[in-house]
Amino acid sequence: MDNRQKEIDNLKDYKYGFTTDIENTRAPKGLNEDVIKFISNIKKEPKWMLDFRLKAFERFKQLKEPDWQKPKYPKIDYQDLYYYSAPKSMKDKPKNLDDLDPKLLETYKKLGIPLQEQKRLNGIAVDAVFDSVSVATTFREELTKQGIIFCPISEAIQNHPELVKKYLGSVIPVTDHFFATLNSAVFTDGSFAYIPEGVRCPMELSTYFRINASNTGQFERTLIVADKGSYVSYLEGCTAPMRDENQLHAANVELVALDDAEIKYSTVQNWYPGDKDGKGGIYNFVTKRGLCKGKNSKISWTQVETGSAITWKYPSCILKGDNSVGEFYSIAITNNHQKADTGTKMIHLGKNTKSKIISKGISAGFSDMTYRGLVDISSKATNSNNYTQCDSLLMGNKCGAHTIPYIKNKNSESNIAHEATTSKISEEQLHYCQQRGLSAEEAVGLIVNGFCKEVLQQLPMEFAVEAQKLVGISLEGSVG
């Protein structure tokens, strides 16, 4: 048996499915003003932050849960969730990594995320979020030298209130849709990054999300601000233990790019997808939105979505600055009973704005996949361009693949081109590979990787390797 096969065998089951036995501090169950005050209090937040949350909660009470999405799910009882859960040892924040609970270190070691800096992985700064709190952020000193702020958002609220106040909620306002507003009211932790003017961030920044406690919703909030002329590449990874019940993950991610700045945001999402019969798994209802605020700015989303029982998200770009660029590269893979409704929105407001969407969907087993996207060129966005390509691959006739693009062109000097195809792996390609000695499974792996190549090559190196492996594992058992 060759190495690749061995590797796949080792990983046949969801390898991140373990739980860490650790004592928790939790907020009382349910959602009400007291819980929000509890969260705000435990985070020692200033009053403006509490007001922000309460304002969002007021709004939330008036909102109705949306139901237009393709994957339907049983009604979530928002009163039956814990909105805050943190390892007890985190109550008094450890000063440095040596003080960190060894169990936590162990967990991250198991996940392959070394928190000790000496074991650093090619210089990636990691912010590790465990349930509702950030447990460790690495390489902070080195980043501080360049003036880069990279810390948990709860710390940023304390230490850099002027920045947080200015940008938090500027892309996803508290009055946004149902899940975004819920997040604004109860978000617990997440990452904050600020890249000062003219700085090119020397290393990849990364957040690693882990849901551990049961019955908990994870609501984290990420805010990245790239000041004039700066550049940052940001990675995000996620895993969760195997549990029978569905868990809700409703994060908000806001990106702001000022003049000439560039943000590259990559996600490898591998939440627990549920078992073979579709029991359990994470509901991944995330709001991600980037604002190209300044001239010549650029925001690029890359996502590899392999996990979650239901993925429902549309990382978007608002191209406000003239000459700004938005990009969206996505691979979404669903197997067994997984469901996904994902895509992007490109809102062209400024002149000469450009956007590009490459989406690859693969569905196997009993799964269901939808690409839903919006390209909107407003009447002022003269000389703008969009190119969209959505390809879907189907394996078996029990799964579904759907494409629902909304295309709006209000400007006669702008062009939109959209292409979509749906097909299966051709018999000829399979035959060709097998004739040369590959097994059916290897052949499919090879062809699928080729199908995804355009997106995979957008990922930073370490991530690309991991993602490529994930693609193989996710489709395990779907051939034949």
Binding site: L394, G400, I404, P405, I407, K410, S412, N415, T422, S423
Partner: protein, 415 residues
Amino acid sequence: MKEQLQKDFDNTIRNLTLSQKDIEIKKFYLDNFINKGFPNRKEEDWKFSDLNQIIKKNIGELSFYSDYTSTNKVDTSAFVDGLEHNKIVFINGRIEKIDFDYEKKDQIEIIDQSETINKFNNNSSLSDLNSAFTNKSFKIVVKEGYKLTKPLIIYHTTNSKIWSKNINLRLNFELYENSSLRLIDLFRDTSEKNFLNIFYNFDLKESSILKNYKVDKFENKNIKYSFNNIEQDKNSISETFILSSGSNFCKNEINCNLNGEYSSAFVNGIFSINNNKHHEIRTIINHLTENTKSYQLIKSVLEDSSRAVYQGKIFVNSKAQKTDGYQLSKAILLNKDSEFNAKPELEIYADDVKCSHGSASGSLNEDSIFYLMSRGLNYQQSRELLINGFLLDVVEKITDPEVKNLIKNMIGIKE
């Protein structure tokens, strides 16, 4: 609006000879419509065209009752010249003439269905409205193996006698094995501010062929909605061509169910609109069994502050292996105020399929204009030549040469 509807409904019923049971059914549809009202943008299918708003803005209060007791004079000068054809003539919504002079009498059956309520396979509020208020409805049956020698032209004529009226029409067609029918819907309006709500149902049996052409060319200020449902059996072919140009607002919906193997559906359309016109085509092609095929091509030329919408959906269920589905929409925006919205949709549950769609919108290609101008044409001529060629592509898809020439002449497209 509710009192108006009730009153007009009572007046309409009074002129019909219906059994108590049928009246009850019609009442049921009326209540449905009263509950739902005209569709608005909250409904996904009407997202880009809010009919409720459009009617409010352009017509205001509608009246739903028409007096059909007196006949209208059929103006023969309005008939198409140079093409022998069968006729159905509607004037102000009243059916004045059904004439199949060129065909064998025993091969075509015309059944008056006015006294029977036939359900329509669509539960939108507009179909409820139609069911509640249709006055006369006919079923046209083409017998087995009979191919009509001449096309059938349905004239929809309105004149200034009506104002702010809602007109509901319904026709059913049944094409038996190996039969064929060519149909042209021709709109001629001299009226203003009326709302036409038209429902056709086509039942295509094995190996039958339907060619369905809709021509809305002449300038008018009416609002039109037309829904065609096409059921297709084994080996049947349906070809639909839509020229969407004349009315203030016009929405054509084609719902095509490919129920039998080797059946195929073609839908081609042209939007050529100006001023403040707002037109939409929505197609739903349901591939329900193996080896079916569909092809769609929609091209738009938009001037002034006009707005066109294309919503096309290809649905493939899990049994429908070997489906071939294709859809392309292209739009040229000539003015900065014009707008093109598209929602090309694929919903696929079978793996051995070939489905694709493409959509492009933008301005006239400056390079092409430069090329033509460098060869001595002026700007206006170059522009016309390019638009001509752009639209000709769709007209050339019409498989019937007689109708193709008629439509070419009508819209002044040169080869």
